[in-house]
Amino acid sequence: MKLFEVAHSRAGDKGNTLMLSLIPYDEANYEMLCATVTAARVKEHLQAIVKGTVTRYELPNISSLLFVCSNALSGGVTTSLAMDTHGKSISFALLEMEI
C-alpha cells in the first residue's frame, strides 16, 4: 500500500530547505505512521531529491508529522534551474512511499 492511501501531505520551502507534512486521514493511523515513516525511511525514499538531512517532528496534538529536509531544492527557489523550483510537487513524491 502507498502512503497516498492513508495520508495527505503539503510541501513548503524556505531557501534550500523542503518541508513535507504527513497527515493521516484517520487520526487512529497516527501511531502507525510514527512507527513506519521514520526520518531514515524518508531520506532513503527521497534520495533522488533530498541531498541533506531529514529531521522529523511529531505533533501528537494534531496527529501529524513534519519532515524538514535540508539541501533539497537545488539551491532554493531563487537560483535553482529545476522545473519545480519551490518543490511544491514533492508532497506527492512522499506519498509514493510503500508502507
Binding site: V68, V77, T78, T79, L81, A82, M83, A93
Partner: protein, 444 residues
C-alpha cells in the same frame, strides 16, 4: 470597533499575483473588521526595487491600483480597515497613490505608510563585515540590489492608534500583518509572548489566503473540493484570549476543515516548536484543532516564549541569467527521440555552460525519479535550462533547442525559448537597534 467580543480578520490575497475577486467578496460580504492583503514574496521586493530605481514614484505592487480601486468603496461602507504589504520597495509612494485613488473616488481616509524595513544602505556600508546565513560569505561577494528586514507588528499598531484606515507596508513578517490588529484591539501586552504566539498561529493560518480554504489541497481523488473556480478566501474570528475560528464567506467555493487547517499550520514551518517572527518565537506543537461546524475550525492552544534577538533581512542580488528551451515529441519512440535531442544539446552546449540541465516533461522532470511508475507517455517535452553570465549567452540555449526543428530528430514540435535575469536571495541577521520603523500618515 464593529464587533465587541471578537475581531474578524480576513485575508484577501496570499501572494502578489493572487486573484482579485476573493478580497472583494470578503470586503463586501465578510462583515470584517480588518482585511489583510499579503502580496510580498521573498523576491518580489527585489524586483520592485528595480522598478523604483527606474522611476522613484514606483516600486510598489503593480496591482495596487486595481486592488485598491475595487476594494475601497466596500471597505469604507463596511468600516473595514485594510492592512497590506503592497508597499513593497516604496510604501510612501504606495500610500500617496492610495490617497489619490481615494480622492478620485471622493472618499476621505487616512493612509499610513510604514517604513524602516529598507536596510539597503546599512547593508551596503557593512557588506564586507556581514556574512549571509546560507553560505557564510561576506555580503560584499554579491552584486546587491535590495536589502529588507522583516519587521514586526509594532508600527502597524502605532498606525492603528493614529486611526489609519489603510496601512501599507514594505517587508513585514506575514503573520505580523494579522497580529497587529489583535494587539491593538485586545490591548495585548507586547511582552505577553503566550498571546503573541497564539495570534501568530492564526496569522500564519491566514497568510496564504486560499491555501487554508481548499486551494493547494484538492486532489480530485481523496481530497475532493467543490467550487475551486470561486474559491473563498479565509477569515478568522479572533478572541481576546488568543483562540480563533477559521472560516470563509458562505456561498463561496472551497472548504475549511481539519485537513486544510493541519496542512496550512505546518506549511513552510522549519521547526514547529520555534516558529520565528520579529514579534515572538511561537510554539505550534501545542495547537489544538476542532471542527465546530461546516467550514468552521476552532484553533486553541499554541503559545510563545520570547522575542528573537535580531531581525532577519533578505538581501537581493544579481545572480545570473537563465536560458531555457523546450520542444515536444509524440507517438512511437517519443522519449527516445527526446533523449537523442537532449544528447545533441549536451554535446553542443556543455563546454560553454557550467550548469546545464535537461528534463523530460511528462516522464521525470520534477523528482529525478518515477518511483515504481512505468514511463510510457504518449508525448514527451524536452526542456533545457542553463545558467549564463549575460542575456546574450543565455539566448544560445533557446536558439540551440529551436535549431532542433531542422537539425534534430524527427517530429520535434512546439519549440519555445525563454531568457530571464535571476535575482537571488540570501539572508542576514541585523541587530534590533539598527532599525527604526516609522509611520507616515497621508490623508485623501
Amino acid at each position: 470597533m464593529k464587533h465587541k467580543d471578537f475581531l474578524r480578520i480576513g485575508c484577501g490575497a496570499g501572494f502578489s499575483g493572487d486573484r482579485m475577486d476573493p478580497a472583494i467578496v470578503l470586503a463586501e460580504k465578510g462583515d470584517l473588521d480588518y482585511l489583510v492583503l499579503e502580496c510580498l514574496a521573498e523576491r518580489t521586493i527585489a524586483l520592485a526595487q528595480k522598478r523604483r530605481i527606474l522611476d522613484e514614484t514606483k516600486g510598489y505592487d503593480p496591482l495596487l491600483e486595481r486592488r485598491i480601486t475595487s476594494l475601497l468603496p466596500h471597505l469604507v461602507k463596511n468600516k473595514t480597515r485594510l492592512i497590506t504589504n503592497m508597499g513593497a520597495a516604496n510604501p510612501v509612494e504606495a500610500a500617496r497613490k492610495i490617497a489619490a485613488i481615494a480622492r478620485a473616488l471622493n472618499i476621505a481616509i487616512k493612509v499610513a505608510a510604514i517604513t524602516g524595513d529598507d536596510v539597503l544602505e546599512i547593508v551596503l556600508l557593512n557588506a564586507a563585515s556581514m556574512n549571509d546565513l546560507e553560505n557564510n560569505l561576506p555580503l560584499s561577494t554579491y552584486n546587491i540590489v535590495s536589502a529588507n528586514a522583516y519587521i514586526g507588528a509594532d508600527m502597524i499598531v502605532e498606525a492603528l492608534r493614529q486611526n489609519a484606515d489603510v496601512i501599507v507596508t514594505g517587508r513585514v513578517a506575514d503573520p505580523s500583518l494579522f497580529l497587529a490588529p489583535m494587539i491593538y484591539e485586545f490591548g495585548w501586552d507586547k511582552n505577553d509572548f503566550d498571546l503573541l504566539g497564539k495570534g501568530t498561529v492564526t496569522g500564519h493560518l491566514l497568510e496564504c489566503a486560499g491555501q487554508v480554504t481548499g486551494g493547494y489541497f484538492a486532489d480530485g481523488v481523496k481530497k475532493k473540493v467543490e467550487g475551486l473556480d470561486q474559491l473563498g478566501h479565509p477569515y478568522a474570528d479572533m478572541y481576546a484570549n488568543g483562540a480563533a475560528v477559521i472560516s470563509k464567506v458562505e456561498g463561496t467555493g472551497g472548504v475549511v476543515n481539519l485537513m486544510t487547517v493541519k496542512e496550512q499550520l505546518l506549511y513552510e514551518v522549519m521547526n514547529p516548536q520555534e516558529y520565528v517572527t520579529p514579534d515572538v518565537i511561537a510554539d505550534f506543537t501545542t495547537v489544538c484543532l476542532q471542527e465546530i461546524a461546516e467550514n468552521k475550525v476552532q484553533i486553541s492552544g499554541g503559545g510563545g516564549k520570547v522575542m528573537p534577538a535580531c531581525y532577519k533581512a533578505s538581501v537581493g542580488y544579481k545572480a545570473f541569467y537563465t536560458g531555457e528551451g523546450e520542444i515536444s515529441y509524440a507517438g512511437a519512440g517519443a522519449y527516445e527521440r527526446a533523449q537523442i535531442a537532449a544528447g545533441i544539446i549536451q554535446k553542443r552546449l556543455s563546454p560553454a555552460f557550467k550548469e546545464l540541465r535537461t528534463d523530460f516533461i511528462g516522464v521525470q522532470s520534477l523528482h529525478n525519479t518515477t518511483f515504481s511508475h512505468p514511463s510510457s507517455a504518449y508525448e514527451v517535452r524536452l526542456r533545457v535550462a542553463a545558467k549564463a553570465s549575460s542575456a546574450e549567452e543565455a539566448a544560445l540555449v533557446g536558439e540551440e533547442v529551436e535549431a532542433l526543428y531542422t537539425n534534430g530528430p524527427a517530429g520535434g514540435g512546439g519549440a519555445r525559448k525563454y531568457i530571464n535575469e535571476v535575482i537571488g536571495i540570501v539572508s542576514v541577521l541585523i541587530g534590533r537597534e539598527t532599525i527604526v520603523p516609522m509611520v507616515k500618515i497621508f490623508e485623501s
